[in-house]
Amino acid sequence: MKTLSTLGAFLKRDFLIEISYRTSFVMQIFGIAFTVLIWYFIAGVVSAPRTTPGLEGVDYFAYVLLGLAFYHYLSSAMMSFAGKIRSEQTTGTLEAMLVTPTSTGTIVLGSSLWDFLLTSVKVIVYLAVGRIFFGVVIRFDSLLPAFLILGLTVLAFSGIGILSAAFVLYLKRGDPITYLVASASALMGNVFYPSEDMWPILKTFSRFLPITYALHGLRRALLRGSRFSELLPDIEALILFVLVLLPLGIFAFRLAVRRARQEGSLVQY
């Protein structure tokens, strides 16, 4: 209960900071609308038929819209955990938080909550713009499995994000994880094009990225209304990623905190 109340305080803090920059949120919504428009025109130029391998019967614009929207969760996880730790280090607020009885884990989780919430709003805006202005059909038949996939996706990405935060906490600088995973996911994760169109070696690599399964499952659930049993392979793969990445991230973070306390560098940057 106390943890929930603490997490609520983090949300309130970030909400108040967000609204103190009055035009920022509105600008972000405009940014999303422009991005959707850009991809609408690109999709027009590409005009890939629905039968293109990997598109699984949906048109290219709908395919890329979902890819863009849910890629934001990966960006949030990568940027949020590590980025917030870095920013709190430089402003001196990390030290102020770490001298309170709240656990380091709650502090890291709480610091990232707002970004995930904001990302969820952005995803809804993406889908709404796509639906209202460009006629993308979003199916609600498999909403529950879609939420399950989304939850697993967020947890798996959070594992990578926490691992990335551990690097920042210990190395005090941009970590190699963020750049590597973000670019590899954009390149091979089926965000902008199906992996079927890539070289075979890249297609093999794409199987080791959680975003591949996340986007595959979410597209099937939201664009085709696939049943739970059809989504199960993606769900199982994501569970495996969560089981590996989340404990790995938490272990690395605890190790980083301990090493930083030993070195006396917990709040250095």
Partner: protein
């Protein structure tokens, strides 16, 4: 550790290993990291309800000690207890017993108001929202910040920021407060107000145990019943300021205003330096051997030689002079 101890350390030590650069790793892959001693064999005891000073120059180890007590840094050797709890065993219990005021005045969210900042940190201290609001209002009032409580932190003066930092450290009403150079960025008037607040409101009325790190000797003397002098990670001496300076084999400094200053024969017990010899009395800086009859002998010699002494004041030794004397004493094996 005594029953009355709010804070106690036993042979506490901290060694930092300097990170090796990529060049060093390549050139000497099996070389050892440079060791930087932060604290060495620090044993001290802060009694419940007292204001205890950690006095030392920059780099003496004051902040390292405070950070160990606040659970931000792990010691390399020895043990530290806060309210009877071993800091290495249960740092969260320690954090409930201690309020830590950092010397970094930026450590707030600048876009939030003072009140919103306190609400946030109160939640992190485990207070429920209602208690948090009540406590924040009470502390803002006590710190004379109520009129600016709903203004953004970015508009606060240095004094206000420091008072808000103290309010934050008091949110969970800890019995022990650690202040890391709280007057460092304050003007003399604001510093004086803060010092009075620490003595009157926190210590006398609130009954808080205060551990204060400072490099300001006057501040330590004004606030602290007892103090420990740290230099390069070691405790050179601890006790009251009188106990600490007593018995140091150095020299006392006096400023004398003398009319008709005679030429006195040299004496190894004192050294006279004429600072101004204008129309009026000469201003003479006298460095006189501490203890014994040296000072009265000097005055007698001056008076016997026909001089008139129109004024005399003792100049307090500077922190560096005390350190130099202590180090000299320590080198001779007289440290206590």
């Amino acid at each position: 550790m005594g029953i009355q101890a709010a804070i106690a350390t036993e042979s506490l030590g901290k060694v930092y290993l300097k990170r090796r650069s990529l060049r060093e790793l390549v050139m000497r892959p099996f070389g050892r990291s440079e060791r930087i001693v932060g604290l060495r064999e620090v044993t001290l005891e802060v009694r419940r309800g007292e204001i205890f000073g950690l006095l030392g120059p920059n780099g003496a180890g004051k902040t390292t000690l405070l950070k160990i007590l606040a659970g931000l840094v792990l010691p390399t050797e020895g043990r530290a207890f806060v309210a009877g709890i071993d800091v290495a065993a249960d740092d969260r219990a320690v954090k409930r017993a201690i309020g830590f005021v950092t010397s970094d005045e930026r450590s707030f969210y600048w876009r939030l108001t003072g009140r919103e900042n306190l609400h946030f940190f109160g939640a992190l201290c485990g207070l429920d929202p209602r208690e948090c609001r009540r406590r924040a209002a009470q502390l803002l009032e006590a710190m004379d910040l109520a009129p600016v409580a709903d203004q953004q932190f970015l508009g606060y003066s240095s004094g206000m920021k420091q008072r808000l930092a103290i309010a934050r450290a008091l949110l969970h009403d800890p019995p022990i407060l650690c202040l890391d150079e709280p007057t460092r960025s304050l003007d003399p008037i604001a510093a004086k107000h803060l010092r009075r607040f620490v003595v009157d409101r926190l210590n006398r009325e609130g009954g808080k145990t205060v551990l204060l790190a400072t490099h300001n000797l006057q501040e330590a003397e004004e606030l602290c019943a007892r103090l420990a002098v740290l230099d390069r990670g070691r405790v050179l001496r601890q006790g009251s300021l009188a106990e600490i300076t007593a018995g140091l084999p150095g020299r006392d400094h006096y400023v004398l205003h003398v009319i008709g200053l005679p030429d006195l024969p040299p004496d190894r017990r004192w050294r006279l330096q004429i600072e101004s010899d204008g129309g009026g009395p000469a201003r003479v800086l006298a460095e006189v051997e501490r203890g014994g009859t040296a000072f009265s002998d000097l005055l007698r010699r001056l008076l016997d030689a026909g001089a008139t002494i129109t004024g005399c004041s003792r100049r307090e030794p500077g922190l560096q002079e005390i350190f130099d004397e202590m180090e000299a004493a320590a080198a001779r094996g007289e440290s206590r």
